[in-house]
Symmetry: C2
Subunit: 108 residues, 2 copies
């Protein structure tokens, strides 16, 4: 999930926390932060501590990636003039992809 704003972070955190069946208090203890701070993050406050966000993501088994903001179209180098596919059904079988670009997102 792309994070353009603090609201995106909020959605990712709350969604993942619900998936794990955790309360704000549970997550706060896991991550070593206060429950109020969790509520603050989930409310979309922008000026929160970046280091604490990393700890929070770790407690949620989420990872943060930073990469060049290129388009998905870079991955499908074979279909030059085709519109950027957004759904799997838009991609025909056998379409060549740039595997290097894909692997980059998975490196430790």
């Amino acid at each position: 999930m792309k994070v353009n704003s603090a609201l995106d972070l909020a959605a990712a955190v709350r969604g993942r926390r619900h998936d794990l069946g955790l309360s704000q208090a549970d997550l706060a203890e896991r991550a070593g932060v206060s429950r109020v701070w969790i509520a603050t993050v989930e409310a979309g406050k922008r000026s929160v501590n970046f280091g604490l966000v990393l700890r929070l993501l770790g407690a949620l088994d989420l990872k943060m990636d930073i990469s060049s903001s290129r388009n998905l179209s870079d991955v499908f180098k074979g279909a030059k003039d085709a519109p950027t596919p957004r759904n799997l059904s838009d991609v025909s079988k056998g379409t060549p992809v740039n595997l290097d670009s894909i692997l980059e997102g998975y490196r430790e």
Copy 2:
């Protein structure tokens, strides 16, 4: 690039800034922050403002993603017992991949 710590953020920022040929002062003006703060981020300080980090990444044409911290091995569902490939040369041609999992990282 996976961001596990503030030092990873520092490396991503400095590397990208150098690629763009920008000075700290240039980048500070672009992102609307102080030059001292840029230097602080590039020094790997953890407790920096998350919202300002997002603005900084925007000024560097970088994007932040948050996703489940799954292994690369999930992508290669066809090679069950094979070790998780780390280099493109480790992946044999024709290996089936989980395209849904790949596309997820590119959604807006």
